[in-house]
Amino acid sequence: MDYIINAQNITKDFDGFKAVDGLSLQVKKGEVFGFLGPNGAGKTTSINMIVGLLKPTSGQILINGEDVQKIDKGLIGICPQELVLWDNLTCKESLTLIGDMYEVPKKILKQRVNKLLKDLLLTYKADTVVTKLSGGMKRRLNLALALVHEPEIIVLDEPSEGLDPQSKRVLWNYIKSLRDDEGKTVILTTHLMDEADKLSNRVAIIDHGQLIRLDTPENLKKEIGEGDVVEMKLSKPQMNNEIIKSLKSIQNILSVVEVDGVINLRAMDAVSKLPKIMDKVESAGVQIADISVRQNTLEDVFIELTGSSLRE
């Protein structure tokens, strides 16, 4: 098998606290590999070890079969979780600086910088200093900086954090094109289920620094459950059980349960089912006091997988 990254039993110990605990995984060349886990699971720590910024307490990381401290520096590009930018440089200056640091020839660098600015919709801000960019622009620049030297492996640590839905789509399409059009290997950490689902060829779920599952999204979903979650509070909570029974008769409803007096309904494409749901409730002569629809979150997955809720 053609593994580009091979992490063997890596552990990171911060003064007796194991942030990463005996993690072993292999990443295939040309795949998008998702790291899924709640905040504090050890995703960033794992990634920092994989790219060679942090030394593992024990274990070894091989890139193309070679120790990560010895590999060619141009092989990896990382987009860190936090914005890591020079406040007083412009977009173009930042990209050119990093290009210079990777010894990209001047002429090629100029073209690349312009293309990146264009691809990430930053061309009109090319000469604006970082402090004057919007949050989304900073995020995109943060990503662009990982790509100037066209690395083989691209590591993205929670890239969609703080992005509006539209920018998120742009980002996701871009990540897909990195894999599909340019044949790059992408490692992606996220605590969003749908992000891991839509982008990754394979997903590693980690918590407490340990690998819980590693599989394709399809396989994981079969096991864990899918869909959106509708949460509903009724004007007459004593009617909850009766309503739950009638809701279950709607087609394609995955599950309906009561959690702390709130009806919790899981369904594919829940929004399209809202009229039917409201119909059922109102025909029973009950009013909806409060209703919300959200995506199936990691929380839901976690409750199913580990039997405990997410820590924050």
Partner: protein, 420 residues
């Protein structure tokens, strides 16, 4: 040429961070102003206690008149008055040399001027040379005799500093006037032998009389600015670590050399700006600058060496500080006492602990900026040249190299390797 990219990046960051940039320049400027107004009036218009030890044996002028320039100089010093005032510049006494040394130690006198045996001979040879170069007739006795006037005193005593400053000014003016006077005499009576050269040479010396304590202290403000720079550089290095931009650079092909050498260049330029601007401010508020253009170049050289020492100190601070606030605090905690130790604000008592190459050594002499200050004072206040500061510059280069090596080693070890 990755270090050049880093240098340009650092320079842009420095110039665009207006607040930080102003802090670097304005803060020391404020000190300069305060010191200027506090000490600019001090020391002036009071007689300085000066012991003159005159060993001059006299000589004979080309017209066979016998002269003693040592006596003449002594008389000038005795009679010199502050401009527009009846107060004498010096209170001149003529004790024996050993007596004078004793009085120096007890600070009964501020300085001691030793006029050597051949002072008149040297002056006569200066006159002969001036005549022959003015009339273009080669003179038989146009050999150059040099004699060295010695100004002796306690370098840790402010009064010595001011007295020395005034004396230096008077002495160079004295020499200039001998030449000008001779030239005038020769030109005024073409063909005839000049008669008397120094008949009416006893006159007050303008300009240097109002020398003040500030003239002694001003170079200290420049040194303070240079030392303080360590705080700013440390904060900027730490910010790079703390914000993670250093991690970005570490992952690239950049080497430690590129980062640190690249950083030296723009910060050295900042030092150049500091030296020039602070000197200008000092002159505006009454600093009696005795050096010429040459002294600015020397001051810049000396300043940049001191600046590199500050950058080295900054690397040491940045090796330990966790964020830029901590770096700034730690930096202040180190740079302010260091400024006191090198005597940037007022001279410290002399406690020699040994001698090296004929110069006695103090504890402070192990701090590079002590020599920065000595050298700056030498060129700016006393109008000294390269020969007067080469020793100080040599020592400060040596100490700076040591500090730099320590800084690079510590910073590389803690910040430029993969974290563990």
């Amino acid at each position: 040429m990755k270090f050049l990219s880093i240098a340009i990046k650092d320079l842009k960051e420095i110039l665009r961070d207006r607040r930080g940039f102003f802090f670097i320049l304005l803060f020391p400027m404020l000190f300069m102003l305060v010191f200027g107004f506090a000490f600019g009036g001090m020391g002036g218009n009071t007689p300085h206690n000066l012991a003159v030890i005159n060993y001059d044996q006299g000589s004979v002028l080309p017209n066979n008149q016998s002269v003693n320039f040592g006596n003449n100089l002594t008389q000038i010093l005795e009679n010199a008055k502050y401009p527009n005032s009846n107060v004498y510049v010096f209170n001149v006494t003529q004790p024996s040399e050993s007596n004078a040394d004793q009085q120096l130690k007890q600070r009964k006198i501020d300085a001691e001027l030793i006029i050597p045996q051949n002072f008149s001979q040297a002056s006569v040879s200066l006159i002969n040379n001036t005549i022959s170069s003015t009339t273009n007739t080669p003179s038989a006795s146009s050999s150059n005799i040099t004699s060295t006037l010695i100004i002796r005193g306690d370098t840790g005593y402010i009064n010595f500093g001011t007295t020395q400053g005034i004396l230096t000014g008077i002495l160079s003016q004295y020499k200039d006037e001998i030449v000008i006077d001779t030239q005038n005499n020769v030109r005024g009576t073409p063909g005839a032998q000049p008669t008397e050269y120094l008949n009416s040479k006893v006159e007050p010396i303008a300009g240097t009389g109002d020398y003040t304590t500030f003239d002694y202290l001003a170079p200290g403000m420049i040194v303070f600015a240079i030392i303080l720079l360590a705080t700013t550089v440390a904060a900027s290095l730490t910010r790079e670590v703390d914000k993670g931009t250093l991690a970005r650079l570490k992952l690239s092909k950049m080497r430690g050399f590129d980062l640190l050498f690249g950083g030296l260049i723009p910060w050295s330029l900042v030092v150049v700006a500091q030296v020039i601007i602070l000197l200008a401010v000092a002159i505006i508020i009454g600093f009696h600058w005795q050096g010429g253009l040459n002294s600015i170049l020397l001051a810049i050289l000396v300043g940049v060496i001191g600046g590199i020492a500050s950058i080295s100190l900054a690397m040491i601070i940045a090796a330990f500080a966790k964020n830029d606030r901590q770096a700034a605090n730690l930096g202040t905690l180190i740079t302010v006492p260091t400024s006191f130790l090198v005597g940037a604000f007022f001279p410290l008592p002399q406690e020699p602990i040994g001698t090296f190459m004929g110069q006695s050594f103090q504890i402070y002499d192990f701090i590079p900026w002590t020599h920065t200050l000595n050298a700056l004072r030498s060129v700016l206040t006393y109008g000294g040249g390269w020969n007067d500061i080469s020793f100080q510059v040599g020592i400060s280069v040596l100490l700076t190299i040591i500090l730099f090596v320590i800084g690079v080693a510590l910073f590389s070890r803690t910040r430029l390797r993969a974290e563990s």
